[in-house]
Each structure stands twice: as structure tokens, then as C-alpha cells.
């Protein structure tokens, strides 16, 4: 019996660690460094119906213990992803979670319906929380009613379980979590980035061409952990937690707070081997803490 294994709607994970969407492209680049079959799953870059060229550059900026990004959901579009990216990933024994985005509900529905039929796509992640696009994205993630309806519309057409990715840029994240659960979501992924900005002190100009960007990395871990801890109390569907995870202790903290699995984003840029390293470190950490399986650890902070 594999003590790291985690069973989630649509996902039989070898281990609870996966790269977060947008920080791992479609896997090709990291495949040069290690065997992707080692990963619990892969959350691929957001896919939209059409090809998107994203925002002007600069698109990233460094901040204290974090970074800002405003990529703007650049991606080759549904057709190319279905024809090139997903088939290429089939050579690896790893479930794919397809991150779905769009301007309007119909976009989400169109992408979800098609991409959920790809053999290696085992779940969808609805990106209703991208802070870097003018239309769509976050606008769906800040109003409970809108989030619930979008979830319901996508559930109606998806061939695989649907996870909804929550934005931290809200007054009450619990309401959004409960709303998407009511809309039929099979799970929640959280958190997306916090809206932030950096100025070039010399010129006074925003460093990022898009003016604002999404804050990620260790700096946001306390906010992410608090939100996972709160939402875990409110919903009965599983949570895949993320936000600043860089070390094995971070992984333990998110599982303790109630996440059933975790995703690693920005840390891949700092240490490209971070995911396999965390997977290797997890068993010893479980021993050290006196837990047999990952599942035993999940939500322990709520049981103390």
C-alpha cells in the first residue's frame, strides 16, 4: 500500500504533489530535467478556445519573498492543446488537470466539453481567478452567484470531475467556496494570486507592462493557508491547496490545514527539481511526525 497515495474525484494520485497551472507550461520543459511520471498530477497552463498571445512584456517582477506575473493567459488555444500538448503528455503515467479559462461562460463551456474528452485529462480546474485579464477570469471568481452558475454550466458538459480555482482577492472566500460546491464542483483548488504591483523607483513607472500583476511565492503562504483552513471548514468537497509552497514543511502545513493535495507554482522557478524533491522528502517527514499515510495527516489542525 502506497502511503503517499491520495484518492480524489477523478484523480488517483501516486502522491499529493503536483505543479501548479502556468508554472509548468505543458510539461515539455521540465521533462528535460526529470521523469514527469513521478508527479502526483500536472496542472497544465490555462487553455482558452482561441490562441492567446497574452500581455505585453515585462510580464514578471520580483517582490519580497515573492513575484508578480501578468502573463495574460497566453496559450496556443484549445485545438493546438488537444492536438499537440495533451497527446505528447500521454507518454507519461500522470493524470492531467486541465486549467480552463475564457472571456464568457460559453468559452469555459466550449473548452471544458472538448478538453474533458482527452484520454489523459482526469479533471478540470476552472480558472475563475486570473487577475491578469481584462475580461473573464477573476470577474467570475468574485461573485458567488456568477461562480455558482458557471460551475453548473461547466459541470453539465464535462466528462470529468470539475475543480474550481478560487481567488484570494475577495472579502469572503467561504461564500465563493460554498457557492461553487452548490454549483456542483467536485473539488476546489486555491489560491490563485493576490493582485499587486511594483513600481520602478527610478522612473515611477510600473515594472509590469500590464501595470498590476498576480503576487505569488512564499510571501503569500500565510494568506493561502488561512483561506484553505477556513474553506475546509465550510465545504465537504476536497481542496487542492497552493500558495507559496517551497519546502516540505509548507506541504505539511497545507495538508494539516485541510488540503487533500498541494500544488507548487513559483518554487519551480527557484528550484526546477522542487516537485520531485518534495515527493522524495515526504515519507521521512511523515515518519518524523508519526503519521503512516498522507490521508491521516489531512486536516489534522481541525482535529486538535
Amino acid at each position: 500500500m502506497n502511503r503517499l497515495a491520495v484518492e480524489l474525484p477523478g484523480l488517483s494520485l501516486k502522491n499529493p504533489i503536483m505543479p501548479a497551472s502556468g508554472c509548468f507550461g505543458f510539461g515539455k520543459e521540465y521533462a528535460q530535467l526529470y521523469d514527469l511520471s513521478k508527479l502526483g498530477a500536472i496542472m497544465i497552463k490555462a487553455t482558452t478556445p482561441e490562441t492567446r498571445l497574452g500581455n505585453p512584456t515585462p510580464r514578471v517582477a520580483e517582490t519580497p519573498a515573492g513575484m508578480l506575473n501578468a502573463i495574460g493567459l497566453q496559450n496556443p488555444g484549445l485545438t493546438k492543446v488537444m492536438e499537440n500538448e495533451l497527446p505528447w503528455l500521454e507518454q507519461y503515467d500522470v493524470p492531467i488537470i486541465a486549467n480552463v479559462a475564457g472571456y464568457i461562460t460559453e468559452d469555459y463551456v466550449a473548452v471544458a466539453e472538448a478538453i474533458s474528452k482527452a484520454p489523459n485529462v482526469h479533471a478540470l480546474e476552472l480558472n475563475i481567478s486570473c487577475p491578469n485579464v481584462k475580461q473573464g477570469g477573476i470577474t467570475f471568481g468574485t461573485d458567488p452567484k456568477v461562480a455558482e452558475e458557471l460551475t453548473r454550466a461547466v459541470k453539465a458538459v464535462s466528462s470529468v470531475p470539475v475543480y474550481v480555482k478560487l481567488s484570494p482577492n475577495v472579502t469572503n472566500v467561504n461564500d465563493i467556496g460554498k457557492a461553487v460546491e452548490a454549483g456542483g464542483a467536485d473539488g476546489i483548488t486555491m489560491i490563485n494570486t493576490l493582485l499587486g504591483m511594483r513600481l520602478d523607483t527610478k522612473t515611477g513607472r510600473p515594472v509590469i507592462a500590464n501595470v498590476t500583476g498576480g503576487l505569488s511565492g512564499p510571501a503569500i503562504k500565510p494568506v493561502a493557508l488561512r483561506m484553505v483552513y477556513d474553506v475546509a471548514k465550510q465545504v465537504s468537497i476536497p481542496i487542492i491547496g497552493m500558495g507559496g509552497i517551497a519546502t516540505i514543511d509548507d506541504v505539511i502545513d497545507f495538508l494539516s490545514a485541510g488540503a487533500s493535495a498541494v500544488a507548487v507554482g513559483t518554487a519551480n522557478f527557484v528550484d526546477p527539481f522542487v516537485c520531485p524533491t518534495l515527493i522524495d522528502e515526504l515519507p521521512n517527514k511523515l515518519d518524523e511526525l508519526g503519521f503512516n499515510t498522507v490521508s491521516e495527516l489531512v486536516g489534522r489542525s481541525h482535529r486538535l
Binding site: G22, E29, Y30, Q32, L33, I71, F269
Partner: protein, 258 residues
């Protein structure tokens, strides 16, 4: 193959105002085959500063498993890097990207190498390889002022070298283009790395020539996964965009909208 390695500082010295020459040793150097590639460096093992810094490879010594970088200690990360001493370890990811191709230039021909500021370093390994191939390099290197000029001697040993400073405090005064105008264009290929306006000027000056330009962009991953470093392309290619880190940093002239 791309590797990540804790490399050892063989030597670090300041060669001009805030300009440092850093030599590292490790197996990673064995993977370095092309001039113009770069490495992605982690300057601290703390969480701050967080991101890696991209720095070009300025010379490679495969036998000794060593390579050298030249960089300006300017912001927080590069200042930390400049404090590394002999024997210290540095976390290096690389070699990354595609460098300068010397396939299309033949022995006996001339090649023009144009560098600006911290764009000069990658041209050094390139020039050595051209010379090895029997190609005759002409170097035109631009700097802001006298006190940030570096490697004049090294380049001069490899071929004709013109130093240009914006304030005229050393060599020729003005921009590299002022010198280029005075040169006859009997070279068969040009290579350049430096500020984008300089690259744009070169493309304008030599529309007919074969040229290779090394670009800069803010980076996240450094290996092609995050879409941070994309550049717009021209009709000259059917790709909608390119990534500086993995498709570049060197591109054929005319391919990128500069």
C-alpha cells in the same frame, strides 16, 4: 543537457566599476557547447531575493570544467553574487537557450561583433571560436564611460577592436553606430548583444547582411515553461511568438520585432 549544480567559485574579481568577472567550476561546464548561451543563477539560499538571475556565459574552459561570467553588480541579487568568495558554492541552472551559430561563416571571411555594456561578455567566447575557425572578427564595443570598460585587451588579442564610450572618456566618442558608419561592410555576418535600440539600429544599417542578435527579457523559469519572456515575431517566421529563454536568447536578425 540542462543541469542544476552547486558550482564552486574558482575566482571572482572586479574588472571595472561594479563589473565583476566570476569563474565557476563543475560538471555543468561540460554541457556548454555554444557561445551565447546563458545560465540562471540563484544568488541566495534564503527566500529573498527569490528569483534566479540570468547571466551569459562569457567564456568556457571544458578541459578544466570551468566557465566565466562577467556581470554588473547593480541590484540586490547581483550585489549578493559579487560577495561570493573563492570556494563558495553557487546554485547554477544551465546551460540555457540557443547561442550564436558560426556555421554559416567560413574561414577567411570577416565577422562583425557589436556589443553594448553588459551585452559584451557573450561575444568573447564567440570571438574565440570564430578565430579558431579562421574567421577574422572585428569588435565594436560600446560602454557608458571609461570606468566601466572591460576586456579591451582580451578582444584586441583576438582581432581589430574599437572601443566606444558615450561620454568620450575612452576610445571613440558616441555610439557604436558612429564607428560602424566609418567601417567598410566587407564582413559576411554580424553578431550583436546589447540594448534593444542598438540591435534595432544594426538591423536598419545592414538589412542585406546575415545577422544574429541576442535579446534580453525579464524571466521567470528560464527554461520555457512560464511564458514570461516572450517576444513578438515578424512575418519572417511563422511562429506567433518566441521565448527568449528557450528559443533564444540569440535570434536571426529580422525575426523579432525590436
Amino acid at each position: 543537457m540542462i543541469r542544476q549544480e552547486q558550482m564552486q567559485v574558482v575566482n571572482q574579481r572586479q574588472i571595472a566599476t561594479n563589473i565583476f568577472e566570476l569563474t565557476l567550476s563543475g560538471h555543468l561546464a561540460h554541457e556548454m557547447n555554444q557561445p551565447g548561451q546563458f545560465v540562471h543563477i540563484r544568488v541566495s539560499d534564503q527566500l529573498e531575493p527569490l528569483l534566479r538571475r540570468p547571466i551569459s556565459i562569457s567564456s568556457i574552459n571544458k578541459e578544466a570544467l570551468e566557465f566565466t561570467m562577467i556581470y554588473r553588480a547593480d541590484g540586490r541579487g547581483t550585489i549578493l553574487l559579487s560577495e561570493k568568495k573563492q570556494g563558495d558554492q553557487v546554485d547554477v541552472l544551465g546551460p540555457l537557450g540557443n547561442g550564436f551559430s558560426i556555421d554559416k561563416v567560413q574561414a577567411g571571411q570577416k565577422a562583425l561583433l557589436v556589443g553594448g555594456g553588459i551585452g559584451v561578455p557573450p561575444l568573447y567566447e564567440l570571438s574565440k571560436r570564430l578565430v579558431d575557425k579562421g574567421v577574422q572578427p572585428i569588435h565594436v564595443l560600446g560602454f557608458q564611460t571609461k570606468d566601466v570598460v572591460f576586456y579591451e585587451k582580451q578582444f584586441t588579442e583576438l582581432g581589430e577592436t574599437f572601443i566606444v564610450t558615450a561620454d568620450g572618456s575612452f576610445g571613440h566618442a558616441g555610439f557604436v553606430t558612429n564607428v560602424l558608419e566609418t567601417l567598410e561592410d566587407d564582413f559576411s555576418v554580424y553578431y550583436s548583444c546589447g540594448p534593444t535600440p542598438m540591435l534595432a539600429a544594426l538591423e536598419k544599417m545592414y538589412p542585406e547582411k546575415e545577422g544574429y542578435l541576442s535579446l534580453e527579457q525579464r524571466m521567470g523559469c528560464g527554461i520555457g515553461a512560464c511564458f514570461a519572456c516572450v517576444c513578438e515575431t515578424t512575418e519572417k517566421t511563422d511562429a506567433d511568438y518566441v521565448k527568449v529563454c528557450s528559443d533564444g536568447p540569440v535570434f536571426e536578425s529580422g525575426v523579432i520585432r525590436v
